[in-house]
């Protein structure tokens, strides 16, 4: 039964992905992309990685899908193609041959992997109790891969700066995204009912990340989505990008993380090392501002560069 399930799931993902690449227009391809992401979340559950499934559903298919779909709607018919970029027939054949070769080689390597593969699971399980956390993935992200997590938060910040830097000169310092008139009908209702529920669920997922699947990025994506929904219905206005409070919310998480990391240098002997016995309270103290920064950053990335003068 489980093999049939896995084969069906993998086959469906493959078909949708192939269609996404082959679809005629970009807008339709985006639907294929979102469907692929949703099914991939199921595949991650089957692979025993519920944390990744949650991330794929929230960030890959969820806000990522919305971002690409909006872009496709705005680009419709406006995208100009450089004739030099179109593959000639002999090039197309070469590309197809190359990609097939890559896929076949990768498949051969993956199937030849020893079972059980050498891994860090025993080491991770052994190092789990001192952290006071129940979820080995969160423990990995917050302790011995903490540098990744810090830089990941910084990457979100850098992306916000990069997106903002694309603002037209006249709009610099202004509010991101277009002005949205207040919505009526079903959207106005949903934008009032869903965000409070989403807030509870988003915070629950951040909190649950200590002991089960979840975490700040997944929960932060939900919080960001709820804010963008309220914005879509014209209920809230984004602050101007020059606003001091906005900037503070964006940098609070990485700044606190960095300070704790430097404190680790003094107290526990190395950068980002956590003092033994205090891991869990320290991790929670880092996660709270980090969640605020991530949610703010993801929402601003969805809105795009400032478009109106301050």
């Amino acid at each position: 039964m489980t093999l049939a399930l896995d084969l069906l799931l993998a086959g469906a993902i493959l078909v949708v992905a192939a269609w996404t690449v082959a679809a005629r227009d970009g807008f339709a391809a985006c639907f294929g992309f979102v469907a692929t992401g949703l099914l991939l979340a199921l595949a991650w559950v089957r692979l025993g990685s519920v944390d990744v499934a949650l991330t794929e559903a929230a960030i890959g298919a969820g806000i990522g899908g919305v971002l690409l779909l909006n872009a496709a709607a705005r680009l419709r018919g406006q995208e100009t193609v450089d004739p030099g970029d179109v593959a000639r027939p002999w090039q197309a054949r070469g590309i197809a041959a190359l990609c097939t070769a890559v896929a076949v080689a990768l498949a051969a390597v993956l199937l030849a992997l020893p079972v059980p593969a050498p891994g860090l699971a025993p080491a991770a399980a052994a190092a789990l109790p001192p952290t006071g956390l129940g979820n080995p993935v969160t423990a990995t992200l917050m302790t011995w891969r903490a540098l990744d997590t810090l830089l990941e938060a910084v990457v979100v910040l850098l992306a916000v700066i990069g997106v903002w830097s694309l603002a037209p000169d006249a709009a610099w310092g202004g509010r991101p995204g277009p002005q949205v008139p207040p919505a009526e009908g079903p959207l106005a209702l949903l934008a009032r009912v869903l965000p409070p529920i989403g807030l509870v669920i988003g915070l629950h997922i951040v909190w649950a990340g200590a002991d089960g699947p979840g975490g700040k990025f997944q929960g932060g994506a939900i919080l960001a989505a709820m804010w963008v929904l309220a914005w879509m219905a014209g209920l809230v206005r984004p602050p101007p990008v020059g606003s001091r409070r906005l900037v503070l919310a964006l940098v609070a998480g990485p700044a606190v993380f960095l300070m704790v990391g430097l404190a680790g240098l003094a107290l526990a002997g190395s950068f980002l090392a956590l003092p033994a016995g205090f891991s869990k309270p320290v991790i929670l103290a880092i996660e709270a501002p980090l969640t605020l920064s991530i949610a703010t950053g993801l929402a601003l990335l969805l809105l795009g560069p400032p478009a109106r003068a301050a």
């Binding site: 009526e184 009908g185 079903p186 959207l187 209702l189 949903l190 009912v193 529920i197 669920i201």
Partner: protein, 96 residues
């Protein structure tokens, strides 16, 4: 007791699957967008509702049961919002 609960689960989940299937068949076979939408939103919400109902006796504790109910509520809310929006879009309205 457990046999009774399991039987209830199987019955409800089976019925839920039938409704999900009915929604899909409607989506695939009905001739125009309005009737497809009609088939989809109702059958879908009911199908998931029956599956949730069936899984309640299996759920671990009160929190698990509450989460199951919340999931169903959210899907119904989404269906109730998006249904009319798609309908307005399909019939040439403003889409809002």
């Amino acid at each position: 007791m457990s046999v009774l609960a399991d039987g209830f689960t199987l019955l409800c989940v089976g019925a839920g699957l039938v409704f999900l299937l009915a929604g899909t068949v409607g989506l695939l076979r009905f001739p125009d967008a309005a009737s497809r939408l009609h088939a989809l939103t109702k059958a879908d919400g009911l199908g998931l509702g029956l599956i949730v109902l069936g899984l309640l006796p299996q759920a671990a504790g009160l929190l698990g049961a509450l989460k199951l109910m919340a999931i169903w509520g959210l899907v119904l809310l989404a269906g109730a919002t998006v249904g009319p929006m798609i309908a307005r879009h399909a019939t040439g309205g403003s889409g809002r």
